[in-house]
Subunit: 362 residues, 4 copies
């Protein structure tokens, strides 16, 4: 069967024929891949920029794909919650042996001893069929979602980020004086899928959201912001004055230190900065004056990665909700779709002009 | 009566004669100052480095002193909780009109519209007598504390910091697998009163504490660390490798960006960096790689300032506990004590060789 | 214009002609009522059973209606967030002067000094037009909801209850070992609108839900439970053995002490019982053995009432989500709808055979 | 060597000679018992009232004693944190295999599959020597505590209860408008060791505490309440009107349903009732009106048992603090002390006239 893979230590992804999986037995499930999404991490692996990328033990190639949507074909004898025909989103990260992993929170793994499908130490979902354990499959209950469910995986990271934001914000009285979040200003930098989904997430909960990005591919960010009640500004955040971005919450999806430094200056008292981007480039000089401001203003900065099973479940809930409330915004985000054969060139390219590319497997 | 004051916009503190207070009426209390502590903020004001220092409206001079211990001389008719002879610690920051101030959390004031005794917009406690409202006076219930109670004010900031640390750490499973904090490593940088008190605080709760400082004035840090079960390392944190300071919690009391940058690299997964120092000097270049690490490791950074009334109450509890459990550690911290007349020169000096200097008023 | 009202101290509701409102000025909004819902509280007032029911100061009659959906007709000069044509849900409870009310949490009012539209001290929404302040109006962003938005008010109480459940459950590790809630069993007693909405709410978050009720009006509970993935059992909970209802969460919507006593026995370790019903009838003898069990099992029992503005906002989100995911379940709940003229008899009746009755005003 | 034991299924404790322990090896520690405390649970076992009391597998007798203070005699090769001469408090409950136990929270064990020294399935500390694992021994750092450290075990339960109280109270704004707890009223019922320690605990944190008890053995409660700043009322709580006990927090240490029912009526809005007593006797009829009140007032009721290792550590901190601040209050609580030979009769008696009895082992 077909798969898309990389050879670790070598640039470029390629189509490859691999053995179809055997099974399922016990609590295994046989799955047919419907769609896989492509994100910056995939391109980072393809371009050899991510030194944590790793094939399965004993293998030379790593099958890509951590954003998946699949259909159950067959189930092992012990499987209780899934039946043939069901749609599922497979989880990316699989637990190690630390205490966080032991309570189902491998997203907070404290020793780095985990594997991630399509990224490190485990083949991903860019193949026609795969076998997985029932416990790592999140059922899609809303069949109307269709291909939009492939957005579950990236969104689950943001659901966790929002969860963490809520938790750390318990350090002060976090709601407005009317008992809502409607007085709170959120600035999101970057109009890729992550920036757009962050904007939807905060907007849904009543925050005043402003999305800032250097580019507005095909006018999609402008169009979506209108539908979701957010503001869009086409600008390079680094060139704006902090006073122009005064925020209760500042979300960086670019990973650029210059943006993060600006964001820190733009925070109000009790402000929270969310670090989500991992670009690995750039630098910013933090001064003693800025440190003092962070102290005096009771600022919180959070880095956050991955998400728990519950965050996948809630991500699916958000997608259903947004499908109902945000018009065709989710559809607009999926700018590129193709079969595996025709996706390799785009995967090996720079992704310019795409918001979310997906691969259609059947 | 005597007071120690500064003239805003002019270097140096001085002894001055001021009118004794009138009253008390209503819920006011007349207080005789027993001791006041001296900290970096006082010296910052004296040297004109803190641009937020401000006299009371309509006044030219600002009476210094925000770390106080006083005795009740007389009470207004509506005062219920205090009687002549009681010892109290007066609160520094007084609420404005924002929602945080409205719930007694002026330490989290969200618009900056507050005053602070001895710092901004309100005369401090470096005077023989003063009048204050009952609600801003924290009763010292443990009379055995004596002059040690003057450490309440600086300590209350740390009690809040620990409180905030606890809150933000709810983002993951924060305790060890044995249901304690005994596996957690805390690194504290700076062996001033703040660094020493932070070490005591985390040690009391069972954390493994290591205090690192360039200097060890009179060997006090070494001596105290021995008594409290912490490690002391005389070194410049900036010159250590992050690998030498691997920590679950990294506490900076220096305000130096170089230390903070190193600390961020020294954090383990789910690590928390506490920013407490406000030196205003130095800078550190944050790279994209470090941002990525903060994201991948689910790191939290918290700036924290001041504390609520409850934090004063708990600070007094800690002092009583430590007086019982930490031998003469608290006494050792008070390295210098003098009457007002003899304190001016030291106040106007650089504080080298002191840990905590106090002024004895009666 | 028409209104439905009661005379305090006298049984029965009636249609009455009242003066149309004047305005709007300042931050006021003129509203045309579209729909109002009828609930047990309305019937309690109509039958003189609720001794807290009260007319506005100086008035003899109280206009009923606290579950409302209205359309903006005109806005005062200071109104910023609403425009003519917008749909809104008006809030029921209005803040007093206590600290909870001061932070927008009149749902947690600590001195009872609040008013509630249509219930105590304030005319309700069962009239053709009314004036209200912008801050108490929750905008319906999803225009597709139509009349379903009238369910926002009852649902917001449950959103708060779930919020409280989440908070109190932080006393132990509340999630399953796979990082979801999918191993948790929730039993809900009572298939009125509240019981059905509770079932939807827990089911949406992945809990295993079982709804138990003596009756199944028109088979609606059976039908809805099928659509939302819950189990339905037609039975009197009082007659079941606790062993037949073993639960992590036990939700009572009946207010009957006998049910609550049974539920307490049905709780697992760390179990939570949610008290939501207020029937005022019945009694149950708590034994020392049951108290011991509650202690040994680390049980939590929560009474919860009303909700904050944010809970209204999230209730609207849930309605949009469920409209997408739960088929016509919400529509099925609205069993009866009529114009005001034809609603009086039903209002004065016992509501048997209804799930949710609504009044259509235009 | 000597031990005090019971034969399960037979009334009365007795002195018995048992084999001294062998070891220590690995992470084991050999301990000499210094003191053991006696509590209601011991007498419950002795009188055959507790059906969960159980000997170790394969044994006929159960050595009593779960409140212990011991000295390290020797340590196994892998022991790192303890040395001969150290004082320790051994933990009572030992973890099973559930998720709560896995994170060191066997106090929240969710399947009942644990053992408790001196109570169920594991011999206790009423013997001259015993062997235990390092991880279950809590080091007493404050050597001045002396025999008072035997109060650690009962106190740790209350430290957890306070922790749980804090957590559940996050459902509303839990602090007073001055940022402290000083406006909050706590009523504690029962002047046994638990009631007295609860009073100390809440008083330490600034709450207004009132202790109510039918009896005041030797005037100790009156005397201690004076020292800790609490009120003492000698009365039967059941005979007081709820209006006479209006409380934010109502703590029952009697386990009597009649008291708990009264307490529920005495709660203010947002009030919390803490269930801690386990008397197994009595009953109280909960009415629908009382249920309605619990709902309308947003009440929380918590049962709570045992505590985690961290709660033992904090209990030791409180004891050190109270030794400093509460005069000889702790000493006053220990009303009876004797060697094992002379303790049997008292153990088999009804404990009338005692507050805390301890057995001195060396």
């Amino acid at each position: 069967m077909k798969a898309i893979a990389v050879k670790i230590g070598q640039k470029g992804s390629f189509l490859v024929n691999v053995e179809p999986p055997k099974g399922p037995v016990g609590n295994q499930v046989l799955l047919k891949t419907l769609y896989t999404g492509v994100c910056g991490t995939d391109r980072g692996i393809i371009n050899g920029l991510l030194n944590f990328a790793k094939a399965e033990s004993g293998k030379e190639i790593l099958i890509l794909g951590h954003e998946g949507l699949a259909q159950v074909m067959d189930v092992g004898d012990n499987v209780r919650s899934l039946r043939p025909g069901d749609l599922v989103v497979p989880m990316v990260r699989r637990p190690g042996k630390c205490i966080q992993c032991g309570v189902g929170r491998q997203d907070n793994c404290e020793d780095g001893d985990f594997v991630e499908a399509g990224i490190r130490g485990k083949d991903g979902f860019m193949r026609e069929y795969f076998i997985d354990d029932e416990q790592y499959l999140v059922k899609v209950k809303d069949n109307n979602l269709g291909k939009l469910a492939v957005l579950t995986e990236p969104l689950k990271n943001l659901v966790k980020a929002y969860d963490v934001y809520q938790t750390v914000s318990d350090r002060y009285l976090k709601m407005c004086s009317d008992g809502s979040y409607e007085c709170k200003k959120v600035t999101v930098i970057g109009a890729g899928p992550i920036g757009i989904l962050f904007s939807m997430l905060f907007s849904t909960h009543g925050f005043q959201v402003r999305l800032i990005s250097r580019s507005d591919k095909e006018g999609v960010a402008t169009s979506i912001c209108k539908k979701i009640g957010a503001d869009f500004t086409q600008a390079d955040a680094i060139k704006l004055n902090p006073e122009e971005m005064v925020s209760d919450v500042f979300v960086d999806t670019t990973g650029r230190p210059e943006v993060i430094g600006k964001g820190l200056q733009a925070l109000k008292y009790n402000g929270v900065e969310i670090l989500f981007g991992t670009t690995l480039a750039g630098n910013y000089s933090i001064t003693g004056a800025l440190v003092t401001e962070a102290v005096e203003k009771n600022v919180t900065i959070i880095g956050t990665v991955d998400g728990a099973k519950q965050h996948y479940i809630e991500a699916l809930n958000y997608l259903s909700m947004w499908k109902e409330t945000y018009g065709n915004s989710l559809e607009l985000m999926i700018t590129d779709e193709d079969v595996p054969e025709n996706s390799i060139e785009a995967l090996n390219g720079d992704g310019k002009g795409e918001i979310k590319r997906i691969v259609r497997w059947s």
